[in-house]
């Protein structure tokens, strides 16, 4: 029984083809396409669940081999017979060229591996000196002052934002709006963030939130969470019809 190498071991379809040619001790200039294609397909059919990305490259080659096989098997069309120069070209030529080119780079790769491991004569560089380089700080007063000014400006604004909203947000109005939104959704309810997402400003958001808390307290709505950290959904309490104020 021939020794079977897993497809994973090959760096690509050309690598596999070269392996098959070597295994069968074939002449690279006279590849029996039918035989090679069959063996190639046998490898592909034996992959199990393999990275589809990588398999794609092998499949492209498979279809190319099949095409090549059919071209070699089919009798030449009358048109081709009329153009002898064209039909004289072996359809395998391109494949041979690709295989030879790939083979050269595969040899280089082996050589590079030997170089990397020090198996062949090579030089060694000095490890880079990683003592930290001396640092010279550059800074200017202008950027320092502007940084400070910007901070103070920011601080002023955030102080304004933290002020509790005044009486300009009508909690009752907010409660009615929430009830009407939930009424439209009926049993499906609404996600918490969806419900509050309609707030136009921070103040309004706070208003909606307070309104929601009040509605919960009055048992006019229910808040449900299927599990820890899951989305909170708000439902209209059964039997509690939304009434316009």
């Amino acid at each position: 029984m021939p020794y079977v190498v897993a497809l994973e071991a090959f760096h690509g379809p050309l690598d596999l083809l070269l392996y098959l040619i070597e295994e069968n001790q074939l002449d690279i200039y006279d590849i029996p396409i039918a035989r090679i294609t069959d063996q190639y397909m046998a490898y592909l059919s034996d992959t199990g669940d393999w990275d589809l990305d990588r398999l794609g490259d092998f499949l492209v080659m498979a279809s190319y081999l099949m095409q090549l096989k059919s071209r070699l098997l089919l009798p030449k069309s009358p048109l081709e017979r009329q153009e002898p120069e064209e039909s004289d070209i072996d359809p395998r030529e391109e494949l041979v060229r690709k295989l030879l080119s790939y083979k050269r780079y595969r040899q280089v790769a082996n050589y590079l591996a030997a170089m990397e491991q020090g198996d062949v004569h090579r030089v060694f560089y000095r490890q880079p000196d990683d003592t930290p380089r001396e640092e010279e700080l550059v800074a200017d007063v202008k950027s320092l002052v502007s940084a400070y000014k910007a901070l103070r400006e920011q601080l002023k604004q955030s102080q304004q934002q933290m002020e509790i909203p005044g009486g300009d947000v009508d909690i009752n109005l907010m409660m009615n709006r929430l009830m009407s939104m939930l009424g439209e959704k009926k049993r499906r309810g609404m996600a918490f963030h969806e419900l509050l997402g309609s707030a136009a400003s921070r103040k309004e958001l706070l208003g909606y939130f307070l309104a929601l808390l009040e509605l919960l307290r009055q048992h006019r709505v229910r808040a449900m969470q299927s599990e820890h950290r899951a989305e909170i959904r708000i439902y209209l309490q059964a039997g509690n019809k939304h009434v316009d104020a």
């Binding site: 060694f124 320092l144 901070l151 103070r152």
Partner: protein, 174 residues
């Protein structure tokens, strides 16, 4: 077994590739020579380097042998490696700004202005000698306060803190 000169050449190659001190024991293992044979060879090699007055030297650091440049080329080599010009980050600059204008100031006070934790930045500024500790503030918890250093003035091209521009309506109640 390597010849005496081969051992020397091999030691040079080993010390060259490693940018650190290599212990006598490790050399013995790599070269497969006896410890008692290696010690006089190392002494000879160091002497040879010193006599030839080359650009390099081998130093016995106590914990191992190190190949390095001769001290007289320090000035020349500094030219080939100009100091990195490094700008302070925006976060570092902001922190320095608060310290410069409000010193002495505590970590909590700076964090209140900047709205973020600044532990790492304080450590970095202390390491770079741009700020220093200015004693504990006589408030609850007696937190450490910080102030800028003479190095800070130098970097920013100030002759004294009075050179910092006065901010309009800087009544301190930021």
């Amino acid at each position: 077994m390597l010849m005496r000169d081969e051992v020397k050449a091999a030691v040079e190659a080993i010390l060259f590739t490693r940018a650190e001190a290599v212990s006598l024991e490790e050399l013995v293992e790599i070269l497969d020579v006896g410890l008692l044979d290696l010690i006089p060879i190392m002494r000879e090699l160091i002497l040879q380097y010193n006599q030839e007055k080359r650009g390099l030297q081998i130093v016995d650091t106590g914990s191992g042998y190190l190949m390095c440049t001769r001290p007289e080329f320090a000035g020349l080599l500094a030219k080939t490696r100009p100091a990195l010009r490094k700008r302070l980050s925006g976060a570092a600059l902001e922190t320095l700004a608060v310290i410069a204008y409000q010193q002495p100031v505590t970590r909590a006070e700076i964090e209140a202005v900047r709205g973020v934790k600044i532990d790492r930045i304080i450590t970095m500024l202390l390491e770079k000698n741009l700020i220093e500790e200015a004693g504990h503030k006589p408030v609850a918890g007696k937190p450490m306060s910080y102030q800028t250093t003479p190095e800070f003035l130098k970097i920013f091209g100030l002759t004294s803190l009075k050179d910092l521009p006065v901010l309009e309506e800087d009544s301190g109640n930021v």
